[in-house]
């Protein structure tokens, strides 16, 4: 049991490579999505692939996490491709082939082209052999603008693996920090979208609000990018955001959004630009505001809760899937985030709450998963801890990894001057996608 959230319902099934597609099909038909695929090179030289499927909490039934584990022959590492069943599988399979030499049999691209990975650093390998506290600075820098999102997904996974329960109060502090991160990034991008269509005055105004938010971050955690707020086993808060100040910011931002959408040139450039259909958004496995702007009602804050955010949490969606819809969804999310921060801050006090290190270290390999709705979308981490509590494998899935293939689809028919605008409306993290 973790915090105030429902107990995790994780099942692990060992399957043979031949039986993998059938098992995956059953889970996908039951409404799961393939959230993560991780290859492992175990100390004895054997290769193992873990497929993590997740399903949202609905009504009374808690969220589900189901893992399929496949053991491969290291001399002939071939695994049947799942790309025909679900598009994201094909992306994970190319990654496994590039980094672990595992061949996806019957992949839809018979000779998958070399993927460029300009920004590939080899980040996941750097986690290996470290204690979780020593790996936290890496998690905070998976994508620098998502320090809270990735640190939280990492900590949740580590706590899950170590069997540590985090206090409900610390989970609420973490939820608050996650909203502060959403706020400054959404405000930045609303301004940048105005700038991309030539309205630099509004960008300057959004920039003015953005700086206030970055300073609020520094006052809250001691770092403008909110580093240091989420720690293994808990959270650290230097000061609680002031409700009156937040309400003033909410009114300020709402006025700027009205000014943007009340401007015919801005509205005209946003409307109908780079549309992503609901079917494409669903088939490609998109996440976050990209998915919601196309009408997919997905949000890990509700679907995989770490703390109950009702009734303040509202999940904004649109149906047109264009730049306008992505702008509007993010404007709505700013209002929702401020409502959430106000709600969460009520009665909160500063300080450090942490239940780490765990009272006992496991004597054998354990694994854990963390699912978080970062500002770009759902972040998933899966870790394995070796005996002694060091990390033996960390797998990171930033939403940009799954949203990236949707951008060229949305760009079909888009004019060249609108390409930067469309790109900004997706705002992918290449650091998070290339790792």
């Amino acid at each position: 049991m973790r915090g105030s959230s429902a107990p995790l319902n994780v099942t692990v099934t060992e399957v043979s490579p031949a039986r993998l597609p059938a098992h995956a099909a059953v889970l996908l038909d039951a409404g799961h999505r393939l959230a993560l695929t991780a290859a492992h090179e175990d100390p004895d030289g054997s290769l193992r692939v873990v497929y993590l499927f997740t399903a949202a909490a609905t009504g009374a039934s808690p969220e589900r996490r189901d893992e399929l584990h496949v053991q491969l022959d290291p001399s002939d590492p071939v695994v049947p491709s799942l790309a025909q069943l679900t598009f994201p599988a094909g992306r994970f399979e190319l990654e496994m082939r590039d980094l672990y030499g595992i061949v996806p049999a019957d992949h839809p691209l018979p000779k998958p082209e070399a993927r460029l990975r300009f920004l590939h650093k080899g980040l996941e390998k750097l986690f290996e052999g470290r204690l979780p506290v020593d790996a936290l600075p890496l998690a905070e820098r998976v994508s620098g603008d998502t320090a809270v999102g990735h640190a939280l997904a990492f900590c949740l996974a580590v706590e899950d693996a170590a069997g540590v329960t985090v206090s409900p109060g610390a989970q609420r502090t973490r939820a608050l920090l996650l909203e502060l991160e959403r706020l400054y990034n959404h405000v930045t991008d609303l301004g940048a979208l105005c700038d991309d269509v030539g309205h630099s005055i509004l960008n300057a105004h959004f920039g003015r609000v953005r700086e206030q938010l970055l300073r609020l971050n520094a006052a809250t955690t001691g770092h403008r990018l909110l580093r240091g707020g989420v720690v293994p086993g808990g959270a650290l808060l230097l000061a609680v955001p002031d409700a009156a100040g937040l309400q003033a910011l909410a009114a300020d931002i709402a006025e700027l959004v009205d000014l943007a959408l009340g401007h015919t040139a801005v509205l005209d450039r946003f409307t109908g630009t780079a549309p992503l259909s609901l079917d494409a958004a669903r088939d490609l496995g998109t996440l976050g505001y990209v998915a919601r702007a196309s009408g997919l009602d997905v949000d890990a804050r509700r679907d995989h809760p770490i703390t109950d955010l009702r009734p303040a949490l509202t999940v904004a969606t649109r149906s047109s899937g264009d730049v306008l819809a992505r702008f509007q969804v993010r404007a709505d999310e700013i209002a929702a985030s401020i409502a959430l921060v106000t709600d969460l801050a009520y009665g909160m006090s500063p300080g450090l709450t942490s239940y780490w290190p765990p009272l006992s270290t496991p004597g054998e390999r354990t694994s854990g998963t963390g699912v978080v709705e970062g500002w770009r979308g759902t972040i998933v981490h899966r870790v394995e801890l070796a005996a002694g509590g060091t990390l033996s494998r960390t797998k990171i899935v930033d939403p940009s990894f799954l949203n990236r293939p949707a951008l060229p689809v949305a760009l079909t028919g888009t004019t060249v001057p609108d390409v930067p605008l469309a790109g900004r409306s997706f705002h992918l993290s290449h650091a998070g996608a290339d790792l």
Partner: protein
């Protein structure tokens, strides 16, 4: 339009200037290539493997509050149009050639600013298998800005060292 003008006026009344007052030119060691640029420097930013953290603060430096533009620094969309390079991140193996080409495409004397701890010495990404090395391993570096990420004030001060204003 009227609402926008009202907003602009109200902002001025409520907070005075959004940007801080201009400061005296910092006594930074004058980098050798600064004076040749004549006080107006177009900067091409190259992300050679950054986590995006430095980019947040570069945006702050060029934004309305820190406003490095008033000291003659402007962003450029291509290194062919640029006088100087601002490089962030440890240089990944896959960005080594791209960075070298971006540098060669800029006209001489093309000073290079290594911005942030990763650009200076790979930061937390040192030892990663996809990392080639710090920026100075690939192109000559003229100015270093420490920090993870550097504060916007530090970025402004470093760029002013090149504009000389």
């Amino acid at each position: 339009m009227r609402q926008l003008l009202r907003r602009i006026r109200a902002t001025g009344r409520a907070t005075g200037r959004v940007a801080g007052p201009p400061r005296e030119l910092p006594d930074a060691e004058a980098p050798g290539k600064g004076p040749e640029l004549g006080g107006s420097v177009q900067f091409r930013h190259v992300d050679a493997g950054s986590c995006n953290g430095c980019e947040v603060e570069i945006a702050s430096a060029f934004g309305p509050v820190y406003d490095v533009g008033r000291y003659g620094a402007r962003p450029a969309a291509s290194s062919r149009d640029a006088d100087a390079l601002v490089v962030t991140g440890p240089v990944t193996r896959n960005m080594r050639t791209a960075l070298r080409r971006a540098h060669e495409a800029a006209p001489e004397p093309r000073p290079v600013v290594a911005l942030g701890d990763c650009a200076r010495g790979c930061g937390v990404f040192a030892e990663a298998h996809g990392v080639e090395g710090p920026v100075s391993d690939v192109v000559p570096v003229d100015v270093e800005v420490p920090g993870c990420p550097p504060a916007p004030e530090a970025i402004v001060a470093a760029l002013r060292g090149l504009t000389g204003r």
